[in-house]
């Protein structure tokens, strides 16, 4: 056991420690080691990481572990002979592995130990337990992720665009006053080739006639906002010169930064899902039933620290145990085959009904969008009109009401275990959300694919009915990306306002009924429903992903929304709401929530991919004007750069992808 040189033998030694910790031989080995001082010599100043792991996992008092560590490190410094008899290569290898290990530890510490909102989370967890705590931690995780993405977007897309605007406005102001409408139309045909002095129509348009900020503009996201950097349409489509002859290509930056954002989201969330799955997945299929053991030994939530919560938990454990004992008395009856088939039929019928309702909803949404556009002035949504808010209001109401209805229905379907009920509910709500968003994107996508694209000047699809001057007439023509961005903005804002309204109503309701006893409906309202809130969060995040390309400041809006939501929900939860009395399986549901987020992300990513490959870019607005398809921009970029193509090809090879995934795990 002593004088171990090889890394392999070092690991075997650690394994010996580990295997014998819980066996009988541990005491023997350990005491031999400790008392005789027969310690394995180590080839480098520091022990290799396997030792440290084994040391930490020793089931012995801290004092002894410190003593062991002290002995091991002391032994090295005194035995100079150890260093001499090991080859330089091995020494180097061990030192490197130790440094790598320490670096990994410090990175893990930095990434997993956030101080943001630590005290608030602790208070909430103490009052409600791990289940509600996991919702707030999910919120914080998304907040930090979105914050990093916002910094990226603001730094690399927004700031250069603002700089460009500033430098350009001065020159444009003099230019536009000379141009008549013919000149502007002639510009339409100019294909941007990335030269610094290229003028895009959007910059002309807004420089000439800035829209005034109307009273409901902040609600509808139209009007003044269309001329700002909030939307895709105002971004410059070429490069411009920063100081000292450096050129910054806004279009390239736009494309690559958004792509990078998605990759970051994908990598981070995928990593989290894999880690959670690894930690929480337990194969219980082949085991004996162990319900009582679980209730007795793993039902107390050690993070509870408030009196009321503790009393509630005691009560709930009492209820569970009495329920278990009653079930045991009643004994399960083996269901007849017919009864089982009947049960399955009922479930199938309900699924069909739900799917049917979803299809009807989707169709209804499509009709609504269609009518909304026709009622509006022309095909543009530049005018701030209250009628623009109808669609978002209806969508928000659907997203508030329908999940609760689904939750109610699921209880009648005869699912046995609460976990199945939860999963079915989650899947249906996610399908609802995807239907609505899918219809929205599909609608705008198919609209702009229609043959009546304004590629000629005399296309009379534009039904202008505005008093604005001619230059904005050009701007208004068919910037479908901006319109989609506006829809996403409106959905976010209206959703936020409606939830604020509901919270205020709930506040009033809870103050009024404070002293009175609670009936069932009241109990339902005053419960903090983790699944409903988490699904709402996933919905917001999906809106962010859908809108990221069309409205680059969506992360910022969602960030603000999340901050306000956190504080308000925390306040409401601590003061007025009660915890769910039914037991909440925190570990596995956390994995499920992250997995659902991942699914939404992948679907949005695929939708974007499809759009990039097949979608038509607007000819007069945004960074990709002049290209028929978005993907043409990419080909343009890489036609002279074989190296980039080669690098991309190499990265996408299966071996490299597998390697990256391996490191992640």
């Amino acid at each position: 056991m002593c004088e171990l040189w090889d890394k392999k033998e070092n690991i075997e030694f650690s394994e010996t420690l580990r295997i014998n910790v819980y066996g009988g031989r541990y005491e023997e080995i350990w005491s031999l080691w400790y008392h005789t001082g027969c310690l394995p010599s180590v080839p480098s100043r520091d022990l290799c990481p396997a030792y440290w792991e084994a040391l930490r996992e020793l089931c012995k008092p801290l004092k002894l572990k410190k003593e062991i560590r002290h002995r091991l490190t002391a032994r090295q410094t005194s035995s100079q002979a150890a260093a001499r008899t090991i080859s330089g290569w091995k020494h180097f290898k061990y030192t490197m592995s130790m440094h790598w290990y320490k670096m990994k530890q410090s990175v893990q510490d930095a990434f997993h130990d956030y101080s943001l909102w630590h005290k608030e989370l602790k208070k909430v967890e103490g009052t409600f337990g791990t289940g509600v705590g996991s919702y707030f931690r999910f919120l914080r995780y998304l907040f930090i992720l979105n914050f990093c993405i916002t910094l990226l977007v603001c730094g690399f897309i927004l700031t250069p665009q603002l700089l460009f605007r500033l430098s350009d406005e001065n020159e444009n102001l003099s230019l536009s006053s000379q141009n008549g409408p013919e000149e502007e139309i002639a510009f339409e045909f100019a294909v941007s080739d990335g030269l610094p002095y290229d003028r895009s129509l959007s910059s002309l348009a807004y420089a000439a006639t800035p829209e005034k900020f109307g009273p409901i503009d902040w609600l509808t996201g139209s009007g003044w906002f269309v001329t700002t950097e909030l939307y895709y349409g105002t971004y410059h489509n070429g490069s411009f010169s920063l100081a000292s002859g450096q050129h910054y290509n806004v279009a390239e930056a736009y494309f690559f930064v958004i792509f990078l954002c998605f990759i970051i989201y994908l990598v981070v969330i995928l990593h989290r899902v894999i880690v959670l799955y690894k930690n929480n997945y337990i194969d219980t299929v082949h085991d004996m039933p162990s319900t009582y053991i679980k209730k007795v030994f793993s039902s107390w939530d050690f993070s509870i620290s408030e009196k009321k919560a503790a009393a509630l938990k005691h009560k709930s454990i009492y209820n569970e145990l009495t329920e278990l004992m009653q079930e045991y008395m009643n004994d399960e009856v083996n269901e007849a085959f017919c009864a089982r088939v009947m049960a399955m039929c009922i479930k199938l019928v309900f699924w069909v009904i739900v799917l049917g309702v979803l299809c009807v909803l989707g169709w209804f949404m499509y009709i609504l969008l269609d009518n909304g556009i026709d009622e509006n002035v022309g095909e543009t949504t530049n005018i701030s009109d209250v009628s623009l808010l109808i669609y978002p209001l209806i969508v928000t109401l659907i997203m508030m009401v329908v999940p609760s209805i689904l939750e109610g229905i699921v209880r009648f379907e005869g699912y046995r275990s609460p976990r199945h009920i939860l999963y079915v509910n989650l899947v249906r709500t996610i399908m609802l959300e995807l239907t609505i968003l899918g219809v929205l994107i599909g609608f705008w996508y198919t609209r702009e694919q229609k043959p009546a694209l304004p590629e000629t000047t005399d296309s009379m699809d534009v039904d202008v009915d505005t008093e604005d001057s001619d230059s904005t007439h050009v701007q208004e023509r068919y910037c479908w990306e901006t319109s989609l961005g506006e829809e996403v903005y409106r959905l976010l804002i209206i959703d936020f306002l409606v939830s604020l309204l509901l919270i205020i109503l709930l506040l009033i309701f809870s103050i009024v009924t404070r002293k009175k006893s609670l009936g069932r409906a009241q109990q339902f309202l005053l419960e903090f429903s983790i699944s409903r809130n988490t699904l709402h969060l996933i919905y917001d995040q999906t809106l962010l992903w859908v809108g990221l390309f069309f409205c680059p400041l969506t992360p910022l809006i969602v960030l603000l929304k999340m901050t306000i939501t956190f504080y308000i929900q925390k306040f409401m939860a601590l003061r007025f709401l009660r915890a769910d009395e039914r037991p909440w399986r925190a570990a596995q549901t956390e994995t499920v929530f992250f997995a659902l987020t991942l699914v939404s992300l992948i679907l949005s990513f695929l939708a974007y991919g499809f759009n990039i490959l097949r979608g038509h870019s607007s000819p007069d607005c945004g960074p990709f004007q002049g290209y028929k398809h978005y993907v043409d921009f990419l080909w343009d970029l890489t036609e002279n750069q074989g190296t980039i193509l080669a690098v991309i090809g190499w990265i996408l090879r299966p071996g490299v992808v597998a390697g990256i995934l391996g490191i992640l795990m």
Binding site: Y22, P61, H112, T130, I282, S303, T322, R585
Partner: protein
């Protein structure tokens, strides 16, 4: 940190990081918690000998927010203390929170959970221990008949060698199959 006096030296912090599952921030937070329940006798700078000799009695420990509502707090402190006095030194205090931290592997948690539930300290979880545990959990709300039913059901489910009590390996084997065990056996500092 400026001019503020740090209670633990860099070496001590590194040592604690190597021997426990706590991160640096958590070690410092735990030290502050320890300070908040100890009386004036704790020096501003804690030397290694002080960390292993200065004890805080159980009456002060159980006033900590993290422990005060826990039905098993007495037993937890007893497990980590030297004798059964349930008084802890800083080292033992850190060790306790290390086991309950989220980075501690599940086998460690299971091993210490076994010790916590072994109320009489005989290395087996017998009927008395189980009864004790259930009483703590339900605040004595059940009838004696119900208690004995529960205890017998638990033994039925997990006692493999049928000796009327659970050994460490039986306990570990069963408890690790429960998906709620690890998230619940967790105290956030």
């Amino acid at each position: 940190m400026g001019n503020k006096v740090c209670a633990l030296s860099e070496d001590q912090l590194e040592e604690y990081q190597a021997c426990t599952f706590l991160s640096r921030k958590n070690i410092l937070r735990a030290e502050r918690m320890f300070r908040s329940v100890s009386d004036r006798g704790l020096p501003a700078v804690i030397h290694p000998e002080c960390a292993s000799t200065y004890t805080v009695p159980y009456q002060s420990l159980e006033t900590l927010t993290e422990l005060k509502e826990n039905p098993f707090r007495r037993r937890m402190c007893e497990v980590f203390s030297d004798d059964s006095s349930a008084a802890l030194t800083l080292n033992q205090f850190l060790e306790m929170f290390s086991v309950f931290s989220e980075h501690a592997p599940r086998e460690i948690k299971a091993a210490y959970a076994f010790r916590v539930y072994d109320f009489d300290g005989d290395n087996y979880t017998g009927e008395d221990d189980l009864l004790h545990a259930v009483k703590h959990l339900t605040h004595d709300m059940l009838t004696p008949d119900e208690y004995s039913t529960i205890v017998s059901k638990v033994l039925e489910e997990s006692d493999v060698d049928c000796d009327g009590r659970l050994s460490q390996s039986e306990f570990t084997h069963v408890i690790l199959k429960s998906p709620d065990f690890v998230p619940n056996f967790h105290i956030r500092i």
